[in-house]
């Protein structure tokens, strides 16, 4: 457990910023794809309304 040196490392934060951006974007991409699929599926499999 000797790989932690408490301090302030702005350069390290700068290095991980692309990971943060890609990660958040990635989640939204996957979730939007699933959202689109569910909307489509709901439309295709919705029970047909009976005419009065």
């Amino acid at each position: 457990m000797n790989n932690f040196n408490l301090g302030f490392y702005p350069a390290a934060l700068w290095d991980v910023l692309p990971i943060l951006g890609k990660g958040l974007l990635g989640i939204f991409v996957v979730i939007c794809a699933i959202w689109g699929f569910v909307v489509l599926l709901n439309k295709l499999t919705a029970p047909k309304k009976e005419k009065n």
């Binding site: 457990m1 939007c32 699933i34 029970p47």
Partner: protein
Amino acid sequence: MQLLVELFGNIGNFTLEQGAMIIIGAALIWCAIKKEMEPSLLLPMGFGAILVNLPMVNTEAIETLFEAGIATELFPLLLFIGIGAMIDFGPLLSNPKMMLFGAAAQFGIFFTLGMATLFGFELKDAASIAIIGAADGPTSIYVANYFHSNYQGPIMVAAYSYMALVPIVQPPVIRLCTTRKERMIRMPYSPSAVSGTTRILFPIFVTLVAGTIAPKSAELIGFLMFGNLIRECGVLGSLSTSAQNELANLITLMLGLSVSFRMKAEAFVTVETLAILALGLVAFVFDTVGGVMFAKLLNLFSKNKINPMIGAAGISAFPMASRVVHKMGREEDQSNFLLMHAAGANVSGQIASVIAGGLVITLVENALHAAGLM
């Protein structure tokens, strides 16, 4: 006299740190029994913490359990079958817009990843710590173990403790981010009918998409969705019941005991543990902030206003987060029922947290490879 020394000589081998860990173990047991905070996990963890911190104790059996179930990532994956079988995605499928909140409420993970590296944690440890913000125990274990993090014990304790503390952590954060008027926004609930076909195809499609875009999440999401498929297929009722009860209970029990192997005093009573507990809280707070702010952002463009508290239910802690939001809504307006909307966002958080775990593994591993560190 000689006999007394032989019998009680081991007492002298107790260290202060071991004493502290035994108190922590007792505190976990107290939280489990008295406060009913995640008892199925905190109780075995607490008992295990006491057991492994006895001086000169033989922990071979617990180590074997750890190597068999956690080092191989089997326990978190098997537990996901049970969790998947427990989740009813109905509220989400009938109101799929809620999925967005599951994604937004993972903001805390990425914010904490930045904070952990800013304060000196190595990237692989920072990633493992950040996943506490997934509010999802098995994913936290999976990621921490994937990166062979030295901090698995504190990460587990933080993940499960904060999950249990959602009703205490979230309300003040939500109040800080919203006005009373916003918290009183009503959302009519008019769910569309969800067909059996949709319920069956949903877990298969989620596995396909998430597993393709973030292959490292394929196992996690696959086991979760497999559990859900057992539930929804309609022909495996008894298997679904077993997965929800016996399987989930037994695996949780063994998971708790085996995690305690990482709760030995020399590895746990450190400054790092305090830092991890603090960062875990940051992760939960910023998950909540992310979800609420995203809902407020959507309200700028939407005609039908969303109660921003729904965003806070996008974290994976199910069903606590949705109950918190519903309760807060009723505190402001007794006749405001937000539960079904919140439940939709909440189960979306279950999926999004696993995807976030897979993405973090993929992105951090690529960064470590590029830097020649893996």
